[in-house]
Symmetry: C2
Subunit: 342 residues, 2 copies
């Protein structure tokens, strides 16, 4: 396999693949000399051009980790040259580009699979288990957040024509996972992108989804947010699950012993009975049912699919649905309206 | 003064008024015998009927703390009988009712003022000061939440025709305060009410507002939420303020020393540079600029207004704007659309 685009993510693939015997990295191609030098220092072959990668008959797989606007052309060319292709997310800039890639994949009879690595996030898989276990009573609302305060990194991710912005960078992950947690059609999409420091691309967003079963979800990404909120909140009629951060701190709080009528509490300038906390006996605290995962299963599955042994864990129609969803989010922000979806 | 409706809030007024020499509680009227007995035990006169309150020429002020659907008829009658009126929130069930009350107030030449007591909440006033001080750089987003897990109290607040539900109960407070924090017209209203346990009335909501200056606000009320989120989050380009709870825990985190490029961190199954935390030197921690307030100033102002000495601190056109805003929120939920406002 050859890694095309040997920046942060390309290098990260190479490190992760060191433990995957099924998929051996032979070389790299990058337009930047320092990255080619890095590859050489790691014992990899720095190919002089993308074409020279395609021309190498010993290369069966190309991994694309370049800026987002180049994914489509590189993927289509690699597939046409008979390579299987792993591609970084977001797969492309719009569904039109993705459709071109999928057509090229089908025409060439070669596999195209997008690296939706965050399906192997243990925080997400723990939420999935909580929902499968029906620990919280009837589930009705979910919140998924990723917050930072450093702005967008000062590379191509800051530039619109390269496919920058937080919706395409982080939104694609959060939405890709979310739809495995809440079944059924998404009926409504409301989205506000934000541009607090006046960048060319969205620096974050609030996205509110309504599902056909009535469940709702709030998805938030921020790069100008200096205080933490939980990564995950899952609300059911009998309890709430919270995962605070990537160290997987958090837990489940649910209904304990039956309680009498609440005693009003002083809250600011008034009293409240409605917002009075439960008594100690009135709630139960449960630990998170932590789930372990190995993201390298992505690569192993990719190889097994090329051998006809497994079905792909990341399907192109799943990726296409999320691309459509992001397009609906952009439309909602642009028009200031709720967008009907599915 | 006579308190009409001597339930939780009515009694709370009586307790608060013990420290206000300008406004003496003479008696009460309530349809429930146990509350009339309570009044008697407190040395107050239990009036046998609402009409007997109106007929008492020594009563200059009537305070209405009955279920929401009765505010309008009681207020109009009291004003017509020459009484000044303090009314619990929400002022009425819709703007039509409020307009009737205001017309009666003007016709009778008597004061009508709504008890928006949460304008004296110290958490809110602290947020107001943070914004006035411009501590956070350019302010762009605010979140205001009140969360509980006990459901709606099992009285009239659970019943639609009595004006129950969380929008009218808590939403009216959070919105009444919010519009003093963000100046200018509200251009868009998006709202999802929720009914997790299948009540007759909304058990909570997410409300997203857009202001003409581009600022946004998320307002959330919940009664089926078992884990805490901050009461307040205020986001500016240079920092974020958080007030966690009614004990006024929280603080401000802002930009410290200039930092170099972020070092990627392991986050779940991948790396992230964008969401890497700041270094210790890269952020500053400031305490909240706590503000003290005395909600009894509401009553003192009321009396001063009746004497022609002060302007009302709670104006009926302010109350009307919030009623219109809640009507827009209900419409947004009902239609599934963004409602253009102002």
């Amino acid at each position: 396999m050859v890694i095309v685009g040997f920046g942060g993510m390309g290098h990260e693939h190479q490190i992760k693949l060191a433990g995957v015997k099924e998929l051996v990295v032979k070389g790299t191609f990058d337009v930047k000399a320092d990255r080619q030098a890095l590859a050489l220092s790691l014992g990899l072959k720095p190919y002089p051009s993308f074409q020279s990668v395609l021309d190498d008959g010993e290369v069966a797989v190309v991994l694309i980790a370049t800026p987002n606007d180049s994914h489509k052309d590189l993927a289509v060319a690699a597939l046409a040259a008979g390579k299987h292709v792993i591609c970084e997310k977001p797969v492309a800039l719009n569904t039109g580009e993705l459709d071109e890639i999928v057509a090229a994949s089908q025409k060439a009879g070669r596999l195209f699979m997008v690296h939706q690595n965050r399906r192997w996030d243990e925080d997400y898989l723990t939420v999935k288990k909580i929902l499968a276990d029906r620990t919280l009573g009837k589930f009705f609302h979910l919140e998924s957040r990723v917050l930072g305060s450093r702005g967008i990194p000062g590379d191509w991710r800051k530039v619109g024509r390269f496919g920058g912005g937080m919706m395409l960078d982080w939104g694609v992950h959060l939405l890709d996972r979310l739809v495995f947690l809440i079944p059924g059609r998404i009926t409504q999409v409301f989205c506000k992108l934000n541009y607090p420091t006046g960048q060319d691309v969205d620096e974050g967003f609030h996205l509110f989804l309504t599902f056909e079963g009535g469940q709702t979800a709030l998805v938030e990404v921020a790069t100008c947010h200096y205080q933490p909120l939980p990564l995950w909140l899952v609300l059911g009629t009998k309890g709430t699950a919270m995962i605070k951060d990537w160290s997987l701190e958090g837990g489940i709080v649910g209904v304990g012993a039956l309680e009498g009528d609440a005693k009003p509490i002083v809250a600011g300038a008034g009293l409240t009975k409605t917002m009075a906390p439960r008594t100690e006996a009135g709630e139960v605290h449960l630990p998170l049912p932590l789930v372990k995962a190995d993201v390298r299963d992505f690569y192993r599955n990719f190889v097994a699919v090329t051998q006809g042994l497994e079905a792909p864990l990341v399907k192109n129609d799943e990726v296409r649905r999320i691309m459509l969803l992001m397009e609906a989010a952009f439309e909602s922000h642009r028009t200031g309206q709720v967008v009907a979806f599915e």
